[in-house]
């Protein structure tokens, strides 16, 4: 080889080395791996916190395990007008163990083609100062994309009926059946003037009725027999409105539809059992959706007490209106939703 070739090749190599040494400088700004993950975490946070999910009505959280496929998008917000206000029933379903699996979270909340790993947690602050942490996903590795959203959680209202003279009918003939009715007027409850964050909506939230002091309605006895709990509906827009009994599987116990507790003991809606202290009924939205109610319907929940052929033992009788005057709304609870993606 000649000196000429050596000189030429050296110049070439020197230039090549200079160019190669410039390349890492070119890539310097790109070394952060958090870029993409933060964006995905932000997007997931927005979907969870600002969106009620799809389908909206009937809400997605009403689907059971068999109909999980019908859920297209998981969102926790009460409605699209109320970002950051989450519905407790949606939250419960979202974090329910064994309901959603990894691929559901990926396809219905995180989206995207890449199977991201995730850790989603919600820390709820209770008024008594305690915290309740709900979490799903894998433990956090270093270097994940992250977003934190501050939220409020709407809990369902609970109608607590204590000792109340309005429902204590002592003048009634002792042979007549005692009927205690809890009446829900959907037209009043779903009044559009009321913001969705402060609404009692039996279509999305459970209806809670608790008679705490049943003993006060037992003037001379220790207990009385609750014969049945039945549901009746009326459509006031019809020409001759009247209550009709809703066909329902009253004698099968199904905790997905309702929970009836007599003195803390679970039973079906035809208990024919004696009760001494408390009666508590939780009517889940899954049951309400079977009743085919619209925004004008009136729903009656009738508790019938019957001790015949003996004289009636309870004096509980009358109609309790499940409305904004009688049922106190639970205050919104603050919470923090964190989404980590990697």
């Amino acid at each position: 080889m000649s000196l000429d070739f050596l000189a030429g090749f050296t110049i070439f190599m020197l230039a090549l080395i200079m160019v190669v040494s410039m390349v890492p400088g070119l890539l310097a700004g790109l070394e952060s791996s958090g870029i993409d993950y933060d964006a995905v975490a932000y997007r997931t946070g927005v979907i969870l916190v600002e969106d009620p999910g799809w389908p909206v009505y009937p809400p997605w959280e009403m689907n059971d395990l068999a109909h999980k496929g019908e859920i297209e998008r998981i969102g926790l917000a009460v409605s699209k007008e109320t970002p950051n206000i989450l519905l407790s029933t949606k939250v419960k379903k979202f974090f329910e163990e064994g309901f959603f699996d990894q691929s559901d979270y990926r396809n219905k909340a995180i989206f995207g083609d890449i199977p991201y790993s995730y850790n989603i947690s919600l820390n709820i602050s209770h008024p008594d100062g305690s915290y309740e942490l709900k979490r799903t996903g894998d433990p956090l590795p270093p270097g994940y994309g992250y977003i934190r959203r501050v939220v409020k959680i709407k809990e369902p209202a609970v109608a607590v009926i204590g000792s109340d003279s309005r429902y204590n009918d002592t003048t009634l003939n002792s042979s007549i059946l005692r009927t205690f009715t809890v009446q829900l007027n959907f037209n009043e409850l779903l009044d559009p003037e009321r913001g969705p964050a402060y609404r009692i909506d039996p279509r999305t939230e459970p209806v809670n009725v608790t008679i705490t002091d049943f003993g006060a309605y037992l003037p001379a006895n220790d207990e009385a027999t609750l014969q049945s709990v039945t549901f009746w509906k009326m459509d006031p827009t019809r020409p001759i409105p009247q209550f009709t009994r809703i066909p329902f599987s009253y004698d099968t116990e199904d905790s997905d539809l309702y929970i009836l507790l007599l003195d803390e003991e679970s039973c079906n809606l035809k208990p024919e059992k004696e009760v001494a202290n408390t009666i508590s009924l939780v009517l889940k939205p899954a049951a309400t959706s079977l009743f085919t109610l619209d925004q004008n319907s009136i729903l009656d929940i009738r508790f019938v007490f019957d001790d015949s052929p003996d004289p009636q033992r309870t004096t509980l009788n009358g109609t309790y209106l499940y409305d904004y005057d009688n049922v106190p709304l639970s205050p919104l609870k603050p919470g923090v939703l964190e989404v980590a993606i990697w």
């Binding site: 070739f5 030429g8 090749f9 070439f12 230039a15 090549l16 160019v19 390349v23 070119l26 890539l27 700004g29 790109l30 952060s32 870029i35 993409d36 933060d38 964006a39 932000y42 970002p83 559009p192």
Partner: protein
């Protein structure tokens, strides 16, 4: 010159190849740089929270429309929002309402909202 030795041209070829490689690398880097930038910056740039806040404030004003109108203070509050928006948020805002209309059984005011902060312009007519 006719019998020029062309053995050395492979060195130029190598140089050209390196140059081409660099160009493609640069193209790819340019594309990937866009990803991180548009998501985080796009979120910052679009004043979602500002617009939401403004809307809820305007709805609050029209919630107390009756009292404000009776006191003759509606203009004051409107002026507050317009002036402070311009001064502190660099946003041109104006809004107003019209005679109530019947929308599916309810009397609702059509409320017009205009927002422009130089980057994002937002116009809305909402029945409230």
């Amino acid at each position: 010159m006719a019998c020029m030795n062309e053995d050395g041209q492979w060195i130029v070829l190598m140089g050209l190849l390196t140059a081409l490689g660099l160009f493609f690398l640069a193209l790819i880097i340019n594309q990937s740089a866009l990803v991180g930038q548009t998501t985080a910056e796009g979120v910052l740039e679009f004043p979602k929270n500002d617009i939401r806040d403004l809307r809820s404030e305007i709805f609050d004003v029209y919630d107390s429309y009756g009292t404000l109108h009776a006191q003759g203070r509606l203009g004051d509050v409107e002026e507050d929002i317009i002036r402070i928006s311009l001064e502190r948020k660099n946003a041109v805002v104006h809004f107003g309402n019209d005679t109530p209309q019947d929308v599916s059984g309810r009397d609702l005011h059509p409320v017009t909202i205009h927002y422009n902060n130089g980057v994002t312009e937002y116009d809305e007519i909402v029945y409230y």
